[in-house]
């Protein structure tokens, strides 16, 4: 069952340079389409600045998308008014990257977790407390720690509190924006396992944004690879990791260390930096760094096509 369907979503941020000069745009998300099923996890990977966080924020309308369609449970939420939007927010939540910045430093954990329920007028105080207490138990925080402030917790605990806050309203979709990249490796696995357990228990769908290929491989059902605001490859996780089609995905995966010293892998080293999303290259945005690019790549913009069953890629040579 499809929970979320994104069609040609664009998020262009205007940057005005002076009064008379031409208005320019950062094309953070530039025509992204995908679907997400109920209970599924879609991983989104890409290097810094490829627009993966902007994508997450525009799906939740935390930043108003420039154009496109976001169908959530069959309704286009971009057409929603303020009241409808507030109502649908109960069903879609976000977990942030930085557990030190995502909790109000002057609120106790109790009031941080109660806030979502209060905002939506759910239950009386007693019922809310009951719900919060059962929730913190699931994430491994003791009841007597509820009246502590965020700075009294470790990074991993804070991130679990951030997850609990997203869960208070019992959502269907959680967008996790680099939820473990600020944590120690030992704590990362705890938090990832918590994500997996909660998914089973509440039948959650995740959009899991990360730049860490191993983390994404561990948690995702399907994976989308982003480059300069576009999805360049989208496939089932095993398909993508074992048989990458797009040259960008190949180069990314070649950077993954293999825990076996006898096995040698050919590294594909990309040259140059990520081009500016203000002036993206013509044709295929990747042609400036692509090891197999030809002159055709400069003129022809490749569309994301289904090259093998359930395996989509945007490259004219695959």
């Amino acid at each position: 069952m499809t929970l979320l369907e994104i069609k040609n979503l664009k998020q262009h941020f205007p940057i005005s340079k002076g009064f008379l000069s031409e208005k320019k745009y950062v094309k953070a998300v530039d025509g992204v389409s995908f679907t997400l099923n109920k209970g599924e996890t879609l991983g989104i990977v890409g290097e810094s600045g490829c627009g993966k966080s902007s994508l997450g924020r525009s799906i939740l309308r935390l930043a108003e998308p420039t154009s496109g369609e976001i169908k959530f449970k069959g309704q286009d939420i971009l057409k929603f008014n303020r009241k409808q939007m507030k109502n649908i927010r109960k069903d879609m939540q976000i977990v942030f990257q930085d557990p030190y910045a995502s909790l109000n430093p002057r609120s106790t954990i109790r009031s941080i977790l109660e806030a979502p329920l209060k905002i939506h007028g759910i239950g009386n105080r007693e019922e809310r407390m009951k719900l919060i207490e059962s929730l913190v138990e699931k994430i491994g925080i003791r009841k007597d720690q509820l009246d502590n402030y965020p700075h009294e917790f470790s990074g991993g605990q804070r991130q679990r509190i951030g997850i609990a806050r997203a869960l208070t309203l019992n959502p269907d979709l959680i967008i996790a924006d680099e939820p473990v990249s600020a944590l120690d490796v030992s704590v990362q696995s705890q938090v990832l396992n918590l994500f997996v357990e909660l998914q089973k228990e509440f039948n959650l769908s995740y959009i899991f944004i990360s730049h860490d290929l191993s983390v994404v491989q561990h948690i995702s059902d399907r994976v989308a690879v982003m480059y300069l605001g576009k999805i360049v490859e989208l496939a089932h996780v095993d398909q993508l990791y074992q048989n990458p089609l797009h040259p960008y995905t190949k180069s990314l995966l070649s950077a993954l260390p293999i825990p076996d010293p006898s096995q040698k892998r050919e590294r594909i080293i990309l040259e140059g930096d990520l081009p500016s999303p203000i002036n993206p290259p013509t044709g295929c945005a990747f042609h400036t760094r692509c090891p197999v690019a030809t002159s055709d790549c400069r003129t022809e913009t490749p569309a994301l096509r289904e090259k093998q069953f359930g395996h989509w890629a945007a490259c004219i040579y695959v």
């Binding site: 924020r57 939740l60 935390l62 939007m85 507030k86 109502n87 927010r89 109960k90 939540q93 976000i94 942030f96 990257q97 930085d98 910045a101 995502s102 909790l103 109000n104 430093p105 002057r106 609120s107 806030a115 979502p116 905002i119 939506h120 951030g162 806050r165 309203l169």
Partner: protein
């Protein structure tokens, strides 16, 4: 917090001065040895003595008692000006910072108009236009003072308004009102409240200045600035008539400043 307070002697000094001032203001009639307004021509211009520890003025009023009662007037002005201009400035600053755009422009350009005059000159002209009285001085100082809080609060709101916990509140569906008052203000009010504690002293100084030039408290009133003003003509024969009100102003401003400085260090979470 107490341990950190005593670790700084200057803060303790400021705290003690302010404490003494508040006690003096609260129990003025009990502390004063004479009536602050009772004229006694026979005893005029007495130097400090056991009977009149700060001496008497040109009509024989006891200067110590007048200063004690003057504490009430000065603290009341300082308190009222800060308590009235602080919320106005804070809320406007938070609105300007959070909403941005045309609202921000309107509020900030308005503060620019007020801030483009030297405060005391603007207060003078307002007080002069409204007519000389202590209430008008109060009103004039409120009008001059709020833009400072607006600026301070706006800049701290700008610094945190894109923090993830604000974004998370929006993702939860919180309305702007709730975000502003529950999430943003508690985290951006500290610098402005320290400024407010410093401002107590400056407001008292400004009010005394306005009274000195005749725009504030009027003669029989034991206001420090007005006392200084009336002592000018007798400065040669009676040094005490000007010295003690002057010292009262000095210690009050100093006390509030040291306390404000100390509070800044104590409230700074980075030093916790």
């Amino acid at each position: 917090m107490f341990r950190r307070l005593v670790s700084s002697p200057l803060t303790v000094f400021g705290f003690l001065v302010v404490f003494i001032l508040v006690i003096t203001a609260l129990f003025a009639p009990l502390i004063a040895t004479h009536s602050p307004t009772e004229v006694n021509i026979v005893n005029k211009l007495q130097p400090p003595s056991q009977e009149h520890i700060f001496g008497t003025d040109e009509v024989g009023r006891d200067i110590f008692s007048r200063i004690v009662h003057g504490t009430r007037i000065s603290l009341k002005i300082g308190f009222l000006v800060v308590i009235l201009s602080f919320p106005v400035g804070t809320i406007l600053g938070a609105i300007a910072g959070y909403f941005g755009g045309i609202v921000d422009q309107f509020i900030m350009r308005t503060t620019d108009i007020f801030l483009s005059f030297p405060g005391i000159i603007l207060a003078m002209s307002i007080a002069a236009a409204l007519g000389p009285s202590i209430e008008n001085v109060l009103l004039a100082l409120v009008i001059v003072w709020w833009p400072w809080y607006t600026r301070i609060v706006r800049s701290s709101v700008l610094a945190i308004k894109n923090a993830e916990f604000i974004e998370s509140a929006r993702a939860l569906g919180a309305n702007p009102f709730r975000i502003l008052f529950k999430e943003i203000l508690p985290n951006s009010i500290a610098p402005a409240s320290i400024q407010a504690s410093l401002d107590f002293g400056f407001v008292i100084l400004a009010a005394a200045g306005l009274s000195f030039i005749g725009l504030g408290a009027q003669p029989p009133s034991p206001e420090w600035g007005a006392m200084l003003s009336s002592s000018r003509e007798i400065l040669r024969e009676a040094w005490w008539a000007a010295t003690f009100p002057g010292l009262a102003i000095l210690f009050t401003v100093l006390g509030f400043n040291l306390l404000g400085d100390g509070l800044r260090d104590i409230l700074d979470p980075k030093q916790r």
